[in-house]
Amino acid sequence: MHKKYDIAVIGGGHAGVEAALIGAKMGKKVLLITQNIDQTAQMSCNPAIGGLAKSHLVKEIDILGGLMGVAADRSGIQFKTLNRSKGPAVWALRVQSDKKEYSSFVRTVLESHTNLDIIQDEVSGLVIKNGVCSGVRTDINGIIHSRAVIICSGTFLKAVIHIGKKQIPSGRLGEKSAERLSKHLRDNGFETQRLKTGTPPRIAGGSMDFSGMEIHGSDDIIIPFSFRNKKSFLRQVPCFMTYTNEKTHSIIAKNLDKTALFSGRIKGTGPRYCPSVEDKVFRFSDKPSHRLFLEPEGLYTNEYYINGFSSSLPVDIQKKALRTVKGLERAHFVRPAYAIEYDYFPAYQIKLSLETRNVENLYMAGQVNGTSGYEEAAAQGLMAGINAVLKIDGKDPFILGRDEAYTGVLIDDLITKDIREPYRMFTSLAEYRLELRHDNADSRLLKYSKKYGLLKIRELNFLKKRLDKIKNLPEIFPSVKIKKDRLNAFLENNGLERTEEGSDLFRLLKRPQISIETVLKDGLFEESGNYSYYELKQAEMAVKYEGYVKRQNDMIKKFRKNESIKLPPDTDYSKFKGLKKEAAEKLDRVKPVSVGQAGRIAGISPADVSVILINLKAAGKI
């Protein structure tokens, strides 16, 4: 162990491991400090990676040199492509992972990487002098100097677990919370607030009756997250589905006052989209039942995660309620559901590079910034890691636009939106989602992987070659002529109307009802053997949505106009004529980088943006 590092990363969760690994990959000396090395990249909640909008983040992480996609593939025990029959924006991959395997795979990668040290210790404070951070204070190893520090402490800051009326200071069930770091940062001018999240109970598999439940298995053809992988690595196992009923709901409704949340003991705000079961009963009181997914926690455990039954009810009520569900009548609770409340730093305090405004060389990533979810955390960890390296090298930060990546949307939202509950990635949050698909992260981000050296040369070449092939295909399609009789046979097979003349593959793929899959099934494209399914699908998208993508690009151009009007960080909004006091305060707080970003700040109206524009114009700045 050295006494001086380039980067010190606090926390070994999904944000921390990405930050540490990319830092080391980019050639810096990195130290990862974790309270418990056995919990590296622990999946604290559900045993799955991806899903709607989140899988977009994983794909972006993969192209930008991150580990999450690879780790999910390596530990995947069920691969499911969601919404294949729906539009391209909502296609997503979800991988059920063996939690232990996920954690140990990540740990092995970190441990075997050069330039990367791990210690088990607790950070009580930072070394901050004149607004510059230059290291951390630890309990065992004392002061450790580093040129940059990245805080990825997740839900552990001043964390309290609530189970009914019971309160336990703990960052994850059975693990201690970090009691001092957030106070230390408050003393250094940071604002903290409370957030709440929760996790459902884990039930012993042997106590459940799966007969009569819906079985959800892996896809027939497995398409992994990472472009590096072609298949799954572990034995595949299914999930099961069952439903709550009116009896369940009435038990919960009768005991609402016993939950920590409803009785007001929890001050933090919980996520709206991943609500606790009592939330669902309370808010959707007319719905007689809710779905529950029973997800295996791993191959070598019998624990099941009860997706949909997150709760802060007392354990005896949880048991009583869950045992009304079909198949769970004799459910044995291995670990109860619980709610956790913790300190986070409202993200107006960080810049788009994830560096804090107050303290130079200090970065924050993950749940400390108010997000929820492994994928959201990992994306931030990766970006913070890259930017810490760039800062050390005296280079401009790497900032992804809202028009380039979900990662860009995520970070911009964190800073500009008034977040009152853990922020989760959603499809609707991205404006240009026809371009930001989960399957084209390479075409969007490869230039950055190359620029910042995030991938190996071999990987870059592979992706480059694949993209070239995709680009050429739409030019080949028009030359694939289909004669009238052949075409009509094809159309009839697919329940479509006959036609009077022949066509070509290009025109055929333009039709919304015809997909590349139907074309391949019918053998209409003889040369298809030269291309992978992935390449063909990408080319189909390019053809099918050509017109729409063009129009979306027009909107992106308009969007960029206001993005390109820069607002220097030393702008004094209180001096702006005609700007309302509250608006000026909000702008001074966030210090937007552009007029476009200013307009996205919660509480800034379009009229305020006009005022900013008029002021800039009056000052001759635009």
Partner: protein, 438 residues
């Protein structure tokens, strides 16, 4: 910075109004006032009468009112000085004010710009201020007043909200694509798009009437040479504005004049009689006549009732046949023809009535969808095109993200009108059109 400018029309008048706006403007004006009362301080929203004295030199006796912050035209502390309507007095008062370090001359539209910036009005209302100031008739006044009061904005905001609602429904579906939730059927979405289109269509249709409310009815007087077109113009104007001779082709250029009828502005265009001619000036006049005829809301085709045979057809939209010289010979009238005599004035009032009724429908009241601004029209037309595209996408059963793209584009475009979409171009466009002091 305090801004000051003449707020009333320039030139001689009974009274002129000088307006100042900005923190400290009341105290600043008070220093020029020498009446005893002013020495004891002042209250807002009260009229004061006092001499206006600059460095010991008396300039004028003025009435002054001070407005407190938040309760003035601009929303800032303001003062208005009512002086005698002499250009010299105005000039000397303004010079005295501009000498003060904190004061500068207001730029065109700056008072209204400040009003906008202080959140008192939105962009559409700001545009209405221009129209209100330029109003030349009761109808034009009504139209811009309604817009200023937010009538137009309210209606458009409703469409705006409708589109947002639609987009939210579709986006919710995207966000919960893998949940077992029931969503709105596509034909219901299409129906809602159709509704929005209908409302926008109403606005687009209303432009023609709206423009008439604002700009008046364009009435072209046309006909063959020497049938009394200029005499009719003079009769309608009740003056000898246009030279009238017996020589055919006397009127060579187009002459425009305005009259008000039933609160509507009639813009009369006397055109050169159309005939083959070798005279270069006259043929240029004839060219212009043809253009006027194309743009007119209504054409008065003047016909000499004593020579009413073989009249050449005029190519134009609405036409009223005006049989002149009814003192000599009357012709049978139909719905769009009338007998008049420019010599005696017979039938002239009836003709004015007929013009207004032919152009504006029986219901002469103003509707909020009578838009009058070309910018507004173009935005609404573009919005409609994009909504039509959304309908096509739905009918082709395109997926949600595609339909949302159409709707978002429409919403963005409409936002240029409601002020939800802001860009430098729009702001320049609107505030560039003001006169100083407004």
């Amino acid at each position: 910075m305090i801004i000051a400018a003449l707020a009333s029309a320039p030139g001689k008048a009974g009274i002129s109004v000088i307006r100042l706006s900005g923190t400290g403007s009341a105290e600043l004006v008070r220093k020029f006032l020498t009446s005893k009362k002013m020495g004891k301080g002042f209250e807002y929203n009260r009229l004061y009468f006092s001499p206006f004295v600059n460095e010991g030199e008396f300039i004028d006796e003025v009435t002054v009112v001070f407005f407190e912050e938040g309760r003035s035209y601009t929303g800032e502390e303001s003062a208005e000085i009512f002086c005698h309507g002499s250009p010299i007095v105005v000039k000397r008062i303004l010079e005295a004010l501009y000498e003060v370090k904190e004061v500068r001359e207001a730029e065109p539209g700056e008072f209204t710009q400040r009003r906008f910036m202080n959140g008192k009005i939105d962009l559409v209302q700001a545009e209405a201020v221009i129209d209100l100031i330029n109003a030349e008739s009761d109808a034009s006044y009504t139209a811009s007043k309604e817009q200023l009061e937010g009538g137009l904005s309210d209606e458009l905001r409703k469409i705006n909200d409708k589109l947002i609602e639609l987009i939210s429904i579709l986006e919710l579906e995207l966000d919960f694509a893998d949940e077992d939730l029931e969503f709105t059927p596509k034909n219901e979405i299409a129906g809602k798009v159709e509704n929005a289109l209908e409302v926008i269509g109403k606005f687009i249709q209303g432009y023609k009437t709206g423009r008439i409310f604002r700009d008046g009815i364009r009435v072209a007087i046309a006909g063959e040479v020497n049938v009394g077109k200029s005499s009719l113009m003079n009769r309608l104007l009740k003056s000898d504005r246009v030279i009238v001779t017996d020589v055919a082709g006397t009127t060579r250029d187009t002459i425009e004049e305005k009259i008000e009828v039933h609160g509507y502005l009639l813009r009369l265009f006397d055109t050169a009689g159309i005939r083959e001619t070798s005279d270069i000036i006259e043929s240029e006049g004839i060219m212009r006549s043809k253009k006027i005829l194309e743009e007119a809301d209504i054409v008065l085709q003047v016909i000499d009732s004593t020579k009413a045979e073989n009249i050449q057809e005029i190519k134009a939209g609405k036409i009223i046949k005006v049989y002149n010289k009814c003192d000599l010979k009357e012709l049978p009238e139909e719905t769009s023809s009338i007998n008049v005599s420019c010599k005696t004035g017979q039938g002239i009032d009836e003709l004015k009535d007929l013009i207004v009724k032919s152009v504006i429908n029986a219901d002469l009241t103003y509707k909020p969808y009578y838009i009058s601004n070309l910018r507004h029209l173009n935005i609404l037309k573009e919005t409609a095109t994009q909504l039509e595209q959304a309908k096509v996408s739905i009918s082709e059963s395109q997926t949600n993200e595609v339909v949302i793209l159409d709707l978002r584009q429409a919403l963005d475009t409409l936002g240029e009108l409601t002020g939800e979409t802001t860009s430098l171009d729009i702001i320049n466009n609107i505030f560039g059109n003001f006169c100083i002091g407004k």
